[in-house]
C-alpha cells in the first residue's frame, strides 16, 4: 500500500504521473473519448465540443491569471480575434485549417501584446484595466470593419477539410477539436515543468524575489500573456470552425467573466482546474435548461427567468468558491484523492 509521497530524485519529483495507475486510467479515458462519437447523440457531441473549446480557453486564461497572477478581462476579445482571423484566412484566403488554427493563435498573441506592453510594465492591476479596454476596442473594430468582419451581421466560415472530407457535423468537429485540446493540454502541463513555467509561478508568488533570482519580470509577464493569448486565439479559431458563423454578439464581456468564473471555480493555477471549471460552467446552463424544462409544466413562469437564474447561480457559485474554497474544485479533488489513497488510515 502506498502511504504518502516519498521521492528520492528530482526526476521523480518532476514526473507527470507519480504511479502507473493514473497513466493507465488516463490512456483509458483518451481511448474512451476517441470512440465516444460513435455512440453519443448530436446534442451531447455539441456540448462536448463546447466543453473542449472552453477547456482550451480556460487553460489560456489560467496561464496568465492563475499561474502568473495577472487578471485579464480580455478573453472574449481574444476569442473574437482568433475567430475573425480564422474567418479571414479560411474564408477569404482559403487556407487549410492546419495552417489557419496556429496562425490564428499567433495573430491573437500579437494583438494581445499591443495591450500587454503598456500595462505589463506596471505592477498591480493594470492588465485588468488594459484588457477591459481591449475588449471594447476589439468589439468596436469587428462591428465597424465591415468588409473584413461582416459587421453586426457576422461572417461565415467554410467547413474545415481533412483529406477531402468536410468536417461540418458535430462528429467531424469533435475529431478536429479533441486532438487539438489534448495536444495543448499536454503542452501546458509540460510548460509548468520548464524554466519558463516556473518563472511565471515565481512572478505570481513574489515578483521581487523572482527578479532577484534572475527572472526578467517584464519579459516573462509578456511571454505569459502571449502564451495565454495564443491558447485563447486557438480556442477562438475552433469556435469559428464549430459555429461556422460568428458575429460580435458571440463575444460579449460576460463571456470573459464566464471564463474567469471557470478558472476560479475549477482552480487558479491548475491545469486540471481549468478542465473542471470549463466542464462546470459549460454544463451549468444545460442542466438549468433541463431542470426548467422538467419543472416548466408546473411553474410556467420559470421559463421567463431562466436567463437571470443562470447569471445569478454563476455569480453565487463564484462568490461561494472564493470565500470557502479559493483553490477551487481541483483542490477538492486533491483532498478526496488523498483521503482515499490512505484510507482507512487517512487523517
Amino acid at each position: 500500500m502506498r502511504c504518502g509521497d516519498f521521492r528520492q530524485s528530482y526526476a521523480e519529483d518532476m514526473a507527470l504521473f507519480d504511479s502507473p495507475l493514473p497513466r493507465v486510467l488516463l490512456t483509458g479515458l483518451l481511448v474512451f473519448l476517441l470512440v465516444l462519437p460513435q455512440f453519443a447523440t448530436t446534442y451531447w457531441l455539441d456540448v462536448l465540443n463546447r466543453i473542449f473549446i472552453a477547456i482550451i480557453g480556460a487553460m489560456g486564461l489560467n496561464v496568465v491569471t492563475g499561474f502568473t497572477g495577472l487578471i485579464s478581462l480580455g478573453t472574449a476579445a481574444f476569442l473574437a480575434v482568433g475567430g475573425y482571423a480564422t474567418a479571414a484566412m479560411a474564408g477569404k484566403a482559403g487556407l487549410p485549417f492546419v495552417v489557419v488554427i496556429p496562425l490564428s493563435g499567433l495573430i491573437t498573441a500579437a494583438v494581445g501584446l499591443v495591450f500587454g506592453i503598456p500595462s505589463l510594465r506596471l505592477k498591480g492591476l493594470y492588465l485588468a484595466v488594459a484588457t477591459l479596454a481591449a475588449h471594447y476596442m476589439v468589439e468596436f473594430t469587428v462591428t465597424h470593419w465591415e468588409h473584413m468582419t461582416g459587421g453586426v451581421n457576422g461572417i461565415s466560415i467554410p467547413a474545415a477539410q481533412f483529406a477531402g472530407i468536410e468536417l461540418k457535423d458535430d462528429r467531424g468537429i469533435y475529431y478536429l477539436v479533441f486532438p487539438v485540446m489534448v495536444g495543448l493540454l499536454f503542452f501546458t502541463k509540460n510548460l509548468f515543468r520548464t524554466k519558463v513555467g516556473k518563472a511565471f509561478v515565481a512572478i505570481r508568488d513574489q515578483d521581487i524575489s523572482a527578479e532577484v533570482m534572475g527572472v526578467d519580470v517584464f519579459r516573462y509577464k509578456l511571454l505569459a500573456f502571449a502564451v495565454s493569448s495564443f491558447l485563447i486565439g486557438v480556442a477562438g479559431s475552433l469556435l469559428a470552425y464549430q459555429g461556422r458563423i460568428i458575429s460580435p454578439e458571440n463575444f460579449p464581456i460576460t463571456l470573459a467573466i464566464d471564463y474567469l468564473g471557470m478558472i476560479i471555480i475549477g482552480g487558479l493555477g491548475s491545469v486540471l482546474g481549468s478542465i473542471f471549471g470549463a466542464i462546470f460552467i459549460t454544463l451549468l446552463p444545460e442542466i438549468l435548461r433541463l431542470a426548467t424544462d422538467a419543472l416548466g409544466n408546473h411553474w410556467p413562469g420559470l421559463m421567463v427567468i431562466v436567463a437571470p437564474i443562470k447569471t445569478g447561480v454563476f455569480g453565487l457559485v463564484v462568490i461561494l468558491f472564493l470565500i470557502f474554497e479559493p483553490d477551487g474544485m481541483a483542490a477538492r479533488w486533491h483532498h478526496i484523492k488523498t483521503y482515499w489513497k490512505l484510507y482507512p488510515f487517512s487523517y
Partner: protein, 295 residues
C-alpha cells in the same frame, strides 16, 4: 460652434456623474485596494429602487430618493460584511474576482425583479429648457450638474475635516498604523462600501432622470468609470472629480465628430482608447500618487 458647445455641455453633465460614481470607485480602491466591478450594478439597483418606490408605491420623489440612499448604504454595508470581510487576507486577485461574481449576482437579481425592458423614469426634472447664451439647456442637466457639484464639495470637505474622513485617509495610507492608532479598519471598510453604493445610486437616479428611462444596460456606466479614474489617478479623489468632465467632454466630442466617419459607436469606445493612451504615457493619471513600480 453651437454644435461644439452643445457637445461640451453634454460632456460636462455626463462627466459630472462620472465624477460622482468615480468617487465611489476611488474611495473603495483607496481604502481597500479593490477594483469594484459591481459599481454599475449598484447604480442600476439604486435607480430601480427609486423608480419602484415612486411609480408603484406612489411615494413622493423626495422621500423615495431618501429611502433609496438608505437602502444603498445598507447594501454597501451588507456587501462588505457578507462578501468582502470573509475575503480579508486573500490575494487581491480574489478580491477583484469576488466583485465580478457580485456583479453577476446583482445583475441577475435586477433582471429577475424588473426584467430587461426599458422602463420610463418619472419626470423628476422640469421639462422646460433654459436659455444660456445661444444654447437651450434642459433643466435636468443644470440640476444634475449643480447637485453633483454640491455633493462633490461635501465629500471633499468630509475627507478633509471630519473624523471619519481623516480616519479613511489614514486607513488608505496604512492599515496597520491606523489600527494601532485605534481606528476600526472594519468600520472604515464598511463606510467606504456604503459611500460607494450611495454615490452610485445618486448617479443612477440622475442618469435615469436625464435619459428619461431605465434598463439593466445602464450598468455599462460602471465600467466606463474605469477610464475616468485611471485618467484622474486611481487613488485620487481630486482626480476622479477632474477626470469625469474631461472624459465626458472627450467622449462627446468623439461621438459628435467621429461617429459620422466611422458609423457610430465612437462615443462608447473613445474612453477606452484614451485609457490605453494614458497607460502608456502617464499610468498613474493626473493626480495619482507616483508610486507605481515598473518592472
Amino acid at each position: 460652434m453651437e454644435f461644439f458647445l452643445q457637445l461640451v455641455l453634454n460632456g460636462i453633465v455626463v462627466g459630472s456623474i462620472y465624477s460622482l460614481v468615480g468617487l465611489g470607485f476611488v474611495v473603495i480602491y483607496k481604502s481597500t485596494s479593490v477594483l469594484n466591478f459591481a459599481q454599475g450594478e449598484f447604480l442600476v439597483l439604486g435607480a430601480y429602487v427609486c423608480l419602484t418606490l415612486t411609480v408603484q408605491h406612489q411615494v413622493p420623489f423626495f422621500w423615495s430618493f431618501l429611502i433609496t440612499l438608505v437602502f444603498s448604504a445598507l447594501l454597501g454595508i451588507l456587501t462588505e460584511r457578507l462578501i468582502l470581510r470573509p475575503m480579508i487576507g486573500e490575494p487581491v486577485i480574489s478580491l477583484i474576482m469576488v466583485t465580478l461574481g457580485l456583479s453577476s449576482l446583482l445583475k441577475a437579481i435586477i433582471q429577475g425583479i424588473w426584467g430587461t425592458d426599458l422602463r420610463p423614469f418619472p419626470d423628476i426634472f422640469p421639462a422646460e429648457p433654459v436659455q444660456i447664451g445661444p444654447l437651450p439647456v434642459s433643466q435636468g442637466y443644470l440640476i444634475s450638474l449643480v447637485s453633483v457639484t454640491i455633493l462633490l464639495i461635501i465629500f471633499t470637505l468630509f475627507f478633509k475635516f471630519t473624523r471619519s474622513g481623516v480616519a479613511m485617509r489614514a486607513t488608505a495610507f496604512s492599515q496597520q498604523v491606523s489600527l494601532s492608532m485605534g481606528i476600526s479598519v472594519k468600520r472604515i471598510f464598511a463606510l467606504a462600501w456604503s459611500i460607494a453604493a450611495v454615490v452610485s445610486a445618486i448617479g443612477g437616479v440622475l442618469l435615469a432622470g436625464i435619459r428619461g428611462g431605465l434598463d439593466g444596460a445602464m450598468s455599462f456606466f460602471g465600467l466606463k468609470v474605469i477610464p475616468v479614474v485611471i485618467l484622474g489617478g486611481l487613488d485620487s479623489i481630486a482626480g476622479a472629480i477632474v477626470g469625469g468632465p474631461i472624459m465626458g467632454i472627450l467622449e462627446n466630442l468623439a461621438g459628435g465628430y467621429l461617429d459620422p466617419l466611422v458609423g457610430g459607436g465612437a462615443k462608447e469606445v473613445a474612453p477606452f482608447f484614451i485609457l490605453v493612451l494614458i497607460l502608456s504615457i502617464k499610468p498613474y493619471g493626473l493626480f495619482g500618487k507616483v508610486k507605481i513600480e515598473r518592472v
